[in-house]
Each structure stands twice: as C-alpha cells, then as structure tokens.
Point group: C2
Chain length 227, copies 2
C-alpha cells in the first residue's frame, strides 16, 4: 500500500490515475475533506466514505492507510489551500489587527476543518504563514529580536485561543445555562454593581476579540518601543 503522505507510488509516473474504478488517493482525500467541511469529523466514516465513492471500504484502505492517516492527509490538503490575502491599514496597530482578524475569519470559515487540524496538532504548519504575516508587521512596527518574537507569539496565541474557544461558547452549544443567566444570581458587595449588570448581558465574542486585541497590540507596541 502507498499509504505514506508523500509517497513513492512504486514504479509509476506520478499523476497517472488509470484503473477501472477511478478512485484515487486524491479523490478519497478530496471527498473526505468535503464531508468533514460539511458535516464535521464525526460524520466521516470509512464505510460511508467508500460507499459514496462507489467502492468497498478496503479500497480506500489501500489508497490511504487508515482513518488517522486519512485525517492527516485531509489536514495537509487543507493547509495547501490556504492563501494569504492583503493586509489593510496604515498604522502598525491597524495592520496587525487586520492580520489577526484575517486569521480568525479564515478559521471560522472552515470551522470543521480547523477543528480537525487543531485536534491533530497540525496547527504549526497551518499557522506558519500567519505567523510570518504577523512577524512582518511587527518588524515594520520597529520591534526587534526577542521582544519582537514575544509580541508575535502573544498575538498568535491569543488569536488562536479565540479560535479554539469559539466552538465551546454557548451559541454553539445550546441546552445549557449560559453565562449571562448564571450572573443573574450573583450578589457580591466586592463587585461593582455596574459590572454585574453588564455581565448579565450576553457576551459578543466579536467585541471581546476586537477589544482584547486592540488593547494587547497597543500595549505590545508601546511598551516595547519606547525604552
């Protein structure tokens, strides 16, 4: 079996599918990717996938080595498809925020695939282009060396955190008490009443994202640039 990611398909010129079934490793991975993107990882069953390709399960076991390796291949293919878009903004702060938003939007547009990629820990390869995009703006902002690296990682991890956190948030998972409702019962003299009142309103994740990153970026650039 070929099975290996960048496989040497034996003594065969690469990219020649042939054979009567028409099922290629390419097609298997593509179909799997489509299924995952549409219905999530759990919806991907080797049997259904093979049926959808009009073959018996063992065939796709021959092309890709197993479910795990198939998922790896899907993530790999997904990574290849990601393209960088233009960075907007004039000030370094605005440009960094723009990159951060892009990363988050991209992850959100393919939530199911992002989940798989993160679950399998293939995030580094997936995140490298974004790291570079961030690092560019940070360099442009005047940060150097260790301080620049720390700023890059700070922003990257905070953005990544929001991405991974999103599927865990109430709107995504109903049938449980939301944070706002829990705050309704809170009475604490050590807490500002106005704060409590605000916490009882539902949290808009987008707003928190914007506010957090604006604050963080400003601070990273300011603190590090001056001394």
């Amino acid at each position: 079996m070929p099975a290996m990611s960048t496989a040497t398909r034996a003594r065969r010129a690469p990219g020649t599918p042939r054979r009567r079934s028409g099922v290629t490793r390419e097609r298997v991975v593509d179909e799997a990717l489509a299924i995952i993107e549409r219905d999530g990882v759990d919806a991907l069953s080797m049997r259904k996938l093979s049926a959808q390709l009009g073959v018996v399960p063992t065939s796709i076991y021959w092309h890709v080595g197993g479910r795990e390796q198939l998922l790896d291949a899907v993530v790999e293919r997904y990574t290849e498809r990601l393209v960088a878009t233009a960075v907007r903004g004039r000030t370094p702060e605005a440009r960094l925020l723009s990159v951060a938003r892009q990363i988050r939007d991209m992850a959100r547009d393919h939530a199911n695939l992002t989940a798989v990629a993160l679950e399998r820990g293939l995030s580094p390869a997936l995140a490298l282009p974004m790291q570079i995009a961030l690092a560019r703006e940070i360099t442009a902002a005047g940060l150097r060396g260790k301080r620049a690296a720390r700023a890059t990682r700070s922003i990257l991890y905070v953005v990544g955190g929001f991405i991974v956190l999103e599927p865990c948030m109430p709107p995504a998972i109903p049938a449980q008490r939301r944070s706002e409702e829990l705050w309704a019962d809170v009475e604490d003299p050590a807490l500002d009443p106005g704060l409590i009142q605000e916490m009882r309103k539902p949290a808009e994740l987008d707003d928190v994202f914007e506010h957090t990153l604006t604050t963080l970026i400003a601070s990273l650039l300011a603190t590090e640039r001056r001394p």
Copy 2:
C-alpha cells in the same frame, strides 16, 4: 429510569442506595470521572465501566441515561469539586495575574476533565467562580461598569484560550513538525533577522502566557483608569 440530572428518584428518601448490587448513580459517575481523569474521555466505554463496577451494561444505563448524560453528570460533579484558593499579590496587576495563573493551573491539573467540560460546552458554569474572582480584582482596581466587564471578559477569554490551546501544542502531540523547525526554512527580507532567530527556538508556553497576560492586564488597567 431516573436519568434526569436533578432527578426525583420516585418515592424514595434521597441518599439511600440499598439494593444488592451496590451500584449507585453516585458510584457510576465517580468511577466514570476517575477513568476520564486518568485516561481521557475516549477510554470511557460503557461496557468497560460496567465491567469495572461488576455489573452488566444495562444497569448503568438505568442509573444514568446514556453516555452523553453520563458525561454531563461527570462534568457537573467535577464542577462541584472546584474550590477557590487564595489570591496573592499586592498591586491589582499582581493579583489579577495570580487569579489568571490559578485558573490555568487548575485546568491543567485536570486536563482530561477540562477537555470534556469544554467539549460539552459546560464551561460557563465551570468558569463562573473564576469570572467572579477576576471581577472582584477588577473592581478593586477601580474599573467600573462596561469597562470593567470588558476587562473581565478579555482576561477570562485569553486565559481560556491558553487553556484550550495547550493540548494542541507540539509537546502534547509528537510525530509532526514543530513550529521551530518550520521557521528554519524561513527567509524573508521583511523580517528582522533577530526575530527569525528567536522564532527558531522552541516556544515556552508558560513564558508566552506570563508575558501576554502581564502586558494585557497592565494595558487594561492603565488605559481604562486614567481618562
């Protein structure tokens, strides 16, 4: 079947186990929690669990309603066990950082349970005490109303992000190229060479956490307090 979380166990005084098998809803949930905490969610199978309790699977299906509801019960029980520890530090910044660290450490000490809780979206109930702890320090720092709420959520979400992000990081998942290795091939004139050099060293998540939160907290308090 009782099945419901806060169940009315029919006409029976609450807390009287009886019956010859000795298997109670309590014991089932406890055992499930122990298994998950030790070996992760995937290691929890209804059959193994029942075998470990010396019963046939249908029994535990009677006590808890099914796997999903069992997991909910486990998370609920886990939430009850969480206790707040003392907050350290003199300045508001130090105290906030202390709370943030505590939240992260707590999640890390029970990584498997935290993962389940987040996966099932029961984070709000789990995070409420921590939200309150944060809100207290923020109130003490002088922030009020909407600004205080935004600061609370910013810190909470960043901490939560680091928690959820941790299992996705390279050390947790080997057998793939780490971020540092990928940076080895990066050559970009728009990037500070010192930055690239630093990015080639492995990232210490703890350091990033400390640096990010120190920066963020300082900025949240400073920006909001002055005007």
